[in-house]
């Protein structure tokens, strides 16, 4: 778990990142490094709601599952990446240049996938 936390800490150092967390599909927090304004259980619960709802509608339509979800809001942006039975959630401020940091986020997700596989 230490290495996953290290990966999340590294993500925190990217430009515009306000926090990152690994959230289980049922809404439990596996690891987190979030700005103090975000409560981890709230982020986890909302992530579970958003991705479970999206995945259900995608499956019902025969479209499979969501691999990545990017949400742009007025005061922030959020990137969700599917892991095994979990999601990596990265919260950005509204000025973040997502294309510029996307590769780093993808790499972090890949590292977490490998770490969870080893565990």
């Amino acid at each position: 778990m230490g290495k996953i936390n290290d990966t999340l800490e590294e993500l925190r150092r990217l430009a515009g990142v306000k926090g990152a967390a690994v959230v289980m599909v049922d809404g439990l927090v596996a690891a987190e490094s979030l700005d103090e304004r975000y409560r981890s259980e709230v982020v986890a619960g909302l992530t579970s709601y958003l991705l479970m709802t999206t995945n259900r509608s995608l499956r019902e339509g025969g479209l499979g599952e969501c691999a990545q979800f990017v949400l742009h809001a007025t005061h922030g942006r959020v990137m969700f990446l599917a892991l095994r039975e979990a999601f990596l959630v990265v919260v950005f401020d509204q000025f973040a240049d997502l294309p510029a940091v996307s590769v780093d986020v993808q790499e972090a997700a890949q590292r977490i996938r490998q770490l969870t596989q080893m565990a």
Binding site: R37, Y38, V42, V43, L46, T47, Y49, L50, T53, T54, R56, S57, L58, E60, G61, G62, L63, G64, E65, C66, A67, Q68, F69, V70, L71, H72, A73, T74, H75, G76, V78, V91, Q94
Partner: protein, 367 residues
Amino acid sequence: MHLIQRMKIWKELRRLEQRAREQPSPSTFVDLGQVYINLETHDKAQRVAEDGLALFPKAMELRKLLACARRGVRRQRAAELRAKLTRSPNPKLYRELAQLQIGLGETGDLHATCQEWSVRYPDDAGAWLVLGQARLVGFYRDLSAREGQEAVRCLDLAVQMDGEETEARRLLGEVLYRIGAVRVATQHLQVLQKLDTGDAELAALLRHVGTLVDHGDDVDALLAAVEEHGCLAHPSMAATASPLRAEESLARIRDSLAHVAELAGVQKATYIKGSRALVKGAIRDGRDPFLRVVRVVAKAAHRFARRLDIGSASKSVVDGDFGHICVCVYGEVIAGVQCTAGTDLEVVLAELQEIVAGSLYSTEAGD
């Protein structure tokens, strides 16, 4: 700048200008505009972008160049005004500077300007009017209750300070009826009518407001309801002006949707308002799962953003084996697209955003 450097830039400019004339393309105009921006001659960059857009009206990079150049022109003007204000302050200059700062989205600077303005001229209601306008822009964009409360407070102050301040009263009346406080809004508009009896537009607005249902006088509660539901209680007068205008607007949405559906990689496109949907591309019927996914994603993203307190969800992109599903939302209007992997999502999202922004004043849309 050294003479040699200036000569080099001048030579480069000559070359790019010639290229723009002989082989016009969006990238040629962008290169030329970029040089002007680097030289801080934003007015020339603006002219280049406008010339380019006349030839390539759909070029995204030229639109970005135009926006950048315009911002530069405004910043230069703001710096000039700031210098003038230091030498000889007057309310007219403060007003112009504050309006420029609204356009630039420089909220911090705007507040500083208005604070200075109200300290120097405490009897001038202008500072509160401009602050109210800035807050209103934020409120109509995000439908955030906090912005709405501030807008109403500032405009109310402006009206109290100067009972004959028509602009503040009109804006106050408009925002109040849009959120449902029809009775209070009518009072403001009636006062406005007494101040200017010959205003035909105001008379029409009063007739329009007269047809609306009053939801009470508790402005805070009404603003909270707007934020919760993500839409205003009543449409603007422009939106309900005439069936003909609504028809024109619907035709425009159809054309825009057809244009999006023709973009490389786009398979399905839809425009949804309430229970009605316009569709283009490979969609069988109203039961197509894509339509349901778009609705679900829009609603879930809206809830997520609200509960996380990051404002309104405006754009969402879902990726999977199916490619991408892009969704743009504004209030109760949704535009969505399904496209293949490798599609230029920036272009698609910009087009969707234009559709939802352009359709704000059409309430009768539907198929």
